[in-house]
Symmetry: D3
Subunit: 334 residues, 6 copies
Amino acid sequence: MRQDNLAPSPLVATVDFQADGIQHGFLRMPYSRDDSAWGSVLIPITVARNGDGPTALLTGGNHGDEYEGPIALFDLAQRLTLEEITGRVIILPAMNYPAFRAGTRTSPIDKGNLNRLFPGSPVGTPSQKIADYVTRYLLPMAHVVLDFHSGGKTLDFLPFAAAHALDDSRQEEECIAAVAAFGAPWSVKMREIDAVGMFDTTVEQLGKVFVTTELGGGGTATAQSAGIAKRGAANLLRHAGILSGAVEERPTRWLDMPSDDCFTFSEIDGMMEPLVDLGDAVRKGQPIGRAWPIDRTGVAPYEYTAKMDGILAARHFPGLVKAGDCIAVLGVTD
Amino acid sequence: MRQDNLAPSPLVATVDFQADGIQHGFLRMPYSRDDSAWGSVLIPITVARNGDGPTALLTGGNHGDEYEGPIALFDLAQRLTLEEITGRVIILPAMNYPAFRAGTRTSPIDKGNLNRLFPGSPVGTPSQKIADYVTRYLLPMAHVVLDFHSGGKTLDFLPFAAAHALDDSRQEEECIAAVAAFGAPWSVKMREIDAVGMFDTTVEQLGKVFVTTELGGGGTATAQSAGIAKRGAANLLRHAGILSGAVEERPTRWLDMPSDDCFTFSEIDGMMEPLVDLGDAVRKGQPIGRAWPIDRTGVAPYEYTAKMDGILAARHFPGLVKAGDCIAVLGVTD
Amino acid sequence: MRQDNLAPSPLVATVDFQADGIQHGFLRMPYSRDDSAWGSVLIPITVARNGDGPTALLTGGNHGDEYEGPIALFDLAQRLTLEEITGRVIILPAMNYPAFRAGTRTSPIDKGNLNRLFPGSPVGTPSQKIADYVTRYLLPMAHVVLDFHSGGKTLDFLPFAAAHALDDSRQEEECIAAVAAFGAPWSVKMREIDAVGMFDTTVEQLGKVFVTTELGGGGTATAQSAGIAKRGAANLLRHAGILSGAVEERPTRWLDMPSDDCFTFSEIDGMMEPLVDLGDAVRKGQPIGRAWPIDRTGVAPYEYTAKMDGILAARHFPGLVKAGDCIAVLGVTD
Amino acid sequence: MRQDNLAPSPLVATVDFQADGIQHGFLRMPYSRDDSAWGSVLIPITVARNGDGPTALLTGGNHGDEYEGPIALFDLAQRLTLEEITGRVIILPAMNYPAFRAGTRTSPIDKGNLNRLFPGSPVGTPSQKIADYVTRYLLPMAHVVLDFHSGGKTLDFLPFAAAHALDDSRQEEECIAAVAAFGAPWSVKMREIDAVGMFDTTVEQLGKVFVTTELGGGGTATAQSAGIAKRGAANLLRHAGILSGAVEERPTRWLDMPSDDCFTFSEIDGMMEPLVDLGDAVRKGQPIGRAWPIDRTGVAPYEYTAKMDGILAARHFPGLVKAGDCIAVLGVTD
Amino acid sequence: MRQDNLAPSPLVATVDFQADGIQHGFLRMPYSRDDSAWGSVLIPITVARNGDGPTALLTGGNHGDEYEGPIALFDLAQRLTLEEITGRVIILPAMNYPAFRAGTRTSPIDKGNLNRLFPGSPVGTPSQKIADYVTRYLLPMAHVVLDFHSGGKTLDFLPFAAAHALDDSRQEEECIAAVAAFGAPWSVKMREIDAVGMFDTTVEQLGKVFVTTELGGGGTATAQSAGIAKRGAANLLRHAGILSGAVEERPTRWLDMPSDDCFTFSEIDGMMEPLVDLGDAVRKGQPIGRAWPIDRTGVAPYEYTAKMDGILAARHFPGLVKAGDCIAVLGVTD
Amino acid sequence: MRQDNLAPSPLVATVDFQADGIQHGFLRMPYSRDDSAWGSVLIPITVARNGDGPTALLTGGNHGDEYEGPIALFDLAQRLTLEEITGRVIILPAMNYPAFRAGTRTSPIDKGNLNRLFPGSPVGTPSQKIADYVTRYLLPMAHVVLDFHSGGKTLDFLPFAAAHALDDSRQEEECIAAVAAFGAPWSVKMREIDAVGMFDTTVEQLGKVFVTTELGGGGTATAQSAGIAKRGAANLLRHAGILSGAVEERPTRWLDMPSDDCFTFSEIDGMMEPLVDLGDAVRKGQPIGRAWPIDRTGVAPYEYTAKMDGILAARHFPGLVKAGDCIAVLGVTD
């Protein structure tokens, strides 16, 4: 998949991935800029290793405004004890750290959407350098990979874990089993149409067991959604045989997004009035939302109707909407 | 309360408040600026009048990132028919229109927090001019005033309507009755400590029946919260004898915020992990949230505990928190 | 008009207004800021004095994006010789120098619209300090005052000089005579409705002979419009007996703007399509411009029609228009 | 010219280019960003088709601050009827829509100057994606292409239509004939020196009949210049046999810009004083403009003189000038 | 000096100024804003009290880009033990905390220059509220006040402590004695010309013993300059009888700035070339610096010469200079 | 090293490099942008040639906030006379002119760090175009190249000149000899670890004699550091046989930075307290600096200790520090 003649990564880890024990450190990425000529970015990382065994790579903050993953992973990194694990856990709770620190989806440094920049490059933008380091240095160590997502500041999702439809059916089965072990209220088997540049694609092409999630949104977390993330991470480590104890089983419903009819886009700038909420069942033709022009009163709103039967699985979050924004996503249950 | 020798307002209404019928127009506020020397701001307004009778003033967008009120009021302005009313309804769905249009709490023009600038001034900033026009031209026409609020982008509330404790017990009773008619899931009788500059204070000092609300937050609305706002506005108009039909009664629970112990503030910058959600009951000493330092892993979070028994009535919304942010408000039920 | 107990101005002139000769210097205004703790603003000024006689104060750059005045005055300051004058000329070609330097109507320092801040204050914002210095130090020396305006980046005008209708009919007559001497293609006798804060008002209340202008617009100048300004300034100085030689007479047409019907405002955001140009005669009801919604094709534009017979005297300049912008001003000829 | 193995464009048209009738829709370009994770840009487009026949592609808003083209094309899109056409008209009135909406030459999203990014790329910046879609999806359908330009906010031009000197003399002849049919007051046969990345080059290399224009400038339009654009577009469609009726003939003067001596650049920052206006004839050595230092009075301006005999065909528009800005372009008539 | 009927301060201290012991806490200032509706600013404060005795108020960060004071005071706050003091020390190491946190002279919140806003106001901007709290709540407790300054990012000073010439000669003597005890390499007796709004003035008018400093500059500190600040603070506390032990005496040279001739201002924008360094002796007429125009080579620089004999006591720090910046200050030794 | 099929540079020199005499002119780089459609950047350049002989290329402003080089080179360009030279001197005092004019390390146009963009590209960003022009048009003319650096706004250095360890020992010797001739107080033989994109590497790969410097820092210059730069430039020209006269010899100390232990990075955001100053000798284990958390008092600082014996050769300059910033560099003397 990658050229072998790439330059070494400029990122340097202050932790030793081969050493037993629990280490909290950084990936240090040099970053020369107007306010620090010899500056760098310190990306927090935890490595916990207890002898031989499988390795799990747990990542949050791929997008910087999604919080269930970082909460679960900062918590796990601080609570994890050597006694309860076999093998290795690598925790990167805020993968695109500059974005996470700014509370924005993309990096304020280079506007990079990290999840469209894999496998990255050692000589590109800071976001590309992070992608490259993860791809060439961390992924080869991992057997199972969990990447946390939520809706961020502009979308809201029913909480689900997901695997992709894969060419390798055995790999796909393992991923599906991992999603089931995660135990989110909803589970999705996804068909990505535009998978170019996604972390998911890079991980799966390397043959790893991969789980991704969408656990809420709005740029916040709740006690409930954070709890799903914490339990899911622990369940996955147990499922992989790294964390001791049995998977804490939870009921899940499988959800599918079969066609373009699932997606509705706004055609005007205005104010969004939702007519159904997440999890509500809707019938084809039913109004699901309205966009109000805000520059005058007395004008009828644009009304958007469901193009299929389904359940509201995701929605535009901010009160204002721009033409072109995705305002609703419908899913269907098995 | 006000000097009588104030200059006339520079705002001009394109509607005639004395005319029968339904008019959709603007308050035009001159606003000379770099990108329009002879520019102005057009604030949408609707006036519906059907003969003599009481006048209701309904306002939204006092803070520009709160959406239940504007949704209910754009909707009401567009649906209202003359046949169903007696008297007059003045609808100002986006009172601080520049803030509303920008989707921000305060005005991008002058950073004005409109709800701290009443009674305003005809020669001040644009926000002060709006406050002044509402105070001197609209309020004198009104008998009952409903001002919609929600938590905005940075707070989230249990949905409630509220009245203030007032010196005039008859006025207070009428306000409490209006809150009950509104019919939100929760109702609050508030004691404002710092009421200087609030619209509420100006309205109440003029002897009007006044209802305010907090109907959700996060800078969004849901079908559910928008429904509470719509029903509440209609109920209040019915209660006031302006809209025909009976009040649609709904159960409400009364909530009190009796002391400073209700409020918890963060003492660090970091990431918020909520441990309880809105509506959850908590006991004194129970952990309600944690703030994680985000610059490294392996460090224990700051934990915040309840200073009293109560119900979580409001919370900090964004995933990141700054030292000094209010992270939780507890209320007690009767 | 002013309190006598104001603090001294913090501005200091590097020129001596009482000395004979031609001096080029500055008004130095201290301005402490993040990028210069002990910084100041240097406002260019020229004083030319040749013995006793009347004093003219010539100002440009009251708004920072209007160029006919500054061109005429930088040119005059550089060409003027002592031999050709009697008395004194004070030239302030870029009165709101921070705005002029930025090419913006208002000051980038404090967003001050200088022509709404007179008579100013010695302890206010930098814009207020400039107004105060001009009011308390320069105006008392002047007998005749010429303040140059044009439309700036957002308006375009037929080129005219103007005087105001004044209570003191003798003063008004002198001003009208000065306007006629200026010799612009158009001349206007104005009735300001909102004169609060204008330089004009401050000057006229001090009993001075005052001429103002609008000589074009768009944030540019042409050889033609700059020529009108240069000739007008010289003519006024000759008319005042300060510059030797006879007034260079030019035909002028008198224009009036008698009512609110002269002004048309846009009610939508969009793209402006003018249907008549400056100087064109229009009839009541004739379409004069259209505003196109730009977010989709196939939608009819908003059409604006003349509310009276007249001549197009001013128009909105930028291709895009915002709701509330003044898009056309009609005038009537005698 | 292009690799055949490019990825499909991410842009999707909501109109069917093969269907008869008039459709108003959008090119929807996905654009994920901090304020809309699943956002997109909707570029307005109109397709009018009446059976078989030639296809014209009419584009405006290649640069976002040029208005004659968008006015003519929004107007045409709204007025065109099926009855009056044979074949197909594709109207893209605001090609670089993000720039057009912002009123800026380049895109506020990626600072892209669209007219230097052709033939574009499906995996580049948003501006590159637009260029790619036009190149690979719209141009192959077209026989004749008209791309509207004006001077934008910083330049002003004599109104002209233009064709390029081309290697294929038959193609060149057809382009010249199309320019003549357009019927602008001035016509130009251009020799581009730096044609890399221009839309013009891409169109011409595909063998199409191509007309470009410069119809004014300053970031505005007049009734007169908009009229030239409207008439020119209709004339070209008639000339191509798509629109019924005869070409409305207008006199035009042919203008040439034969050498580098046509161009004058400022060597200082300062204020521009034009000494000649558009259309004025100048002699070699004649002063055509002056740049005044603005930080002090009494200093002589930099004077710029004509390097050849000619007519002032274009000029720097803003009142302020920076070192390196082109301040004047001379042309010669046949 | 102040009205007694001011509203109570909105600031609340989390420390008890009357309690014995060492407390580290905050002044909490409510600050509602777009990114935190119920936010506040937490200004760090330390109070150390050991029984009865005098009170010292030590402040740093009056300007936010000056570091000797904050270093000395964070250090003192962390090291101070109860055993070594008698009475009370109040330490406010970053008085204008928003400015200090941003590393800017003025507050990023309101652009307030704190040292021109005393005595402040409880209902003004955040900077004014801080000034008011210090004036009305902290100053009345203090007997001796030390306010640290340095040159900040744009000025550099010889390190000195200073007292003002005061009407009350006994107070002046006490201040001079305190300056001597501080023990900086240089000492200055200052005559402020424009003392309006300064903290110094407010403190002195309350009759306190007051010491101010300028201990370096450039927006940095050195081991040497930080050492001067640490030793000076300890010396002053010893001198006041609060800290045990004897004053650590150091030689100091007294410096005077007797007239306007001490100050030199740049008259052009350009690049500064210093010809003498801090502490160098200069003679009247000697070149002390040059400002180079940077837009072209081959042009002679503006040369600035000393207007008097003296020692270079302060200088403009950044490499670039703007017209109006103070570039050099000369002092004379006794 | 470079492809021969690169497009010609868009930069044009207004000077003739082959002509005898002293010429002051520009490199004109076309730069189309929103505020000047046909704008360009004028980079000042001086060429002095007196017959045949070697050519020196002297560059400053590679980083825009470093001043010793520009001061020495603007001065040299203005003072140099033909009589005193043999051969040619090309002086580019502000190579990344947009950055220099803004006073920032990187270009405000494209955020380009010029010293990481060599050999550049004729079709890239403006910074890349500058690099390309210097590489392909200026370097081939040069025999000796001097590129001035200092620490800029965020670093401070002991003043040194430096050469790199090179594969070609003869070239290395010549560079070392040139460094010695420069005569800075300190001299360094550097081993760059990450030399990709540096001007140094491009120059050296072309076989030129190359000297670089670090002559101070903080975004300022002193009379002393500017003097080192002026004398060094003259010495190098004398050493190369271009400037008449003998090298003015000065003692220098050779400094080495042998390992990663030389560098210390901050691990927290906070305020820097230096414990040693530039030039101070330190022992392994000795505290050299402390970083104070600034959000509260009473917390111990992070202390950084020397990892080796050495001399403090460079340090972080601003008072505030971010995690990841380099705070100290130690060197060892021979």
